[in-house]
Symmetry: C5
Subunit: 126 residues, 5 copies
């Protein structure tokens, strides 16, 4: 089972833990998770890309000026490659974050989900 590999394998090398301060709320994850999508801002952030200014707060967490509630599905997508959102979260909020973090796959997946939702809402019920 693929999901188990991430904690059984030779994890300690790849996955130094990373703290993020997203809009005031702390998230704990690993470098390995953040770099699942190498083009994302999150991967560049924790790799200390010299072209990307990154600041840490007093607890050693990378500071990100975004909404923590919409960041959760973003981080979960990096963890297990699925888009899972709570029923009270609008897809538009997730799309905005996926674009900000430059995650092309997630942008497309979210857009398709929005289209499916909207076409369903417009469809006459007969």
């Amino acid at each position: 089972m693929a999901s188990r590999n991430s904690h059984d394998g030779n994890r300690r090398d790849l996955s130094s833990w990373v703290k993020l301060n997203v809009g005031g709320q702390y998230f704990l994850t690993t470098r390995m998770t953040l770099c699942k999508d190498e083009n994302s801002f999150l991967c560049r952030l924790c790799n200390n890309d010299p072209d990307l200014p990154s600041d840490k707060d007093e607890n050693g967490a990378y500071m990100i000026d975004r909404d923590p509630r919409y960041f959760r599905p973003i981080l979960n997508f990096l963890r297990h490659s699925k888009l899972i959102i709570d029923k009270d979260i609008p897809l538009e909020g997730v799309l905005e974050e996926a674009e900000f973090f430059n995650m092309e796959n997630l942008v497309q997946l979210t857009q398709r989900r929005i289209e499916a939702r909207d076409s369903k809402a417009k469809k006459p019920s007969n």
Copy 2:
């Protein structure tokens, strides 16, 4: 992509980080975000407007006597210029904050959204 400019560009000068203590909950953002709307109370606050008394708490966060849950869409609007709210949040709560913070564009946008919702609720279904 415009949204990427905010973390690729010469950010460090404009965006010293700002902590806010809104009604007891901490928010992390940047001066650049807060000053997207120059007439807002939030811009004046972090620019230390001499006519506006501002106090900081023991963690260096500006103290604001408002509800943190309704503040989230306010801050997100400054981040990406869209009004995105969770399904369980009443628009009236957001309107109240937009007025308090003197954000004229957001006040108008929220009022239009309320009118659309109410006219939809009243419309007969045939």
Copy 3:
């Protein structure tokens, strides 16, 4: 606009900041907000009414043995005189707090809202 007066005017005298520990969650507000309703327990609390025992925790917050989630609309009512509640919050929870804090106006407003909700639920749809 009345709502703006509260941060433009000569605020610093009236509004020393007040921390509340309501059932384990911290709230930040001002003495001015808490004393909007002079008969409320909250006004008496921060005025150190000698007939009302009040205790502070190790962070200087007044301790209150009530539910924080239902306290939010109570505090917001003192801030802007409107009863705004999230869709998943039952009005009965707010009523219970309004009675506890001895806020007569809010008790009546909440009771009317409950009656309106119940009469709407019972009304036949034709």
Copy 4:
């Protein structure tokens, strides 16, 4: 009004404050509240019942291995003797806690509420 007695009367003797760490989240309440139901595990806990091992964490809070979200209505029931739950909370979650904490009245009240809900859901709409 009974609810007001709890903060007007000679409270300081009966109500030394109690901190609880329920599954990782802190709750603040009083010994008086926790002992409203003398047979409950919560009353025995804060009375240091010698037959009941109780541990405190580094902040002096009694540690309880249960879910904090379903604990809220439990504690509120002890505060005001009513079962009030948010719309997204399943009654089954509350029942499980009421049984764990040995609160017979609340167990029965929750069971009746579940039966009412289920019989309403099964009832044909004509």
Copy 5:
């Protein structure tokens, strides 16, 4: 009543308290709870399985790179063997965690619940 045994019996030996830092949020539980399912990653984690690298944060909590919101029903299942989820939580989020933590019983229970939900949604209403 079985649920009461867990706090009446000779608990202190089996249940040294365990702190978990799941994706940035703290959970408090016991070794006894975590080892209800001996094959789960959680049991191996707190038993310091030599084949499983485990790291603790600065507060002595085991660090886990998963979503805290979907972890709640996982931990509750270990506490009382029932799958109880809030109405706004998608079953798919719980399934993903049950698989990650290698909890076979919960995986099957969640899959059956998803199938029941989907077959109900597809069923014509006549």
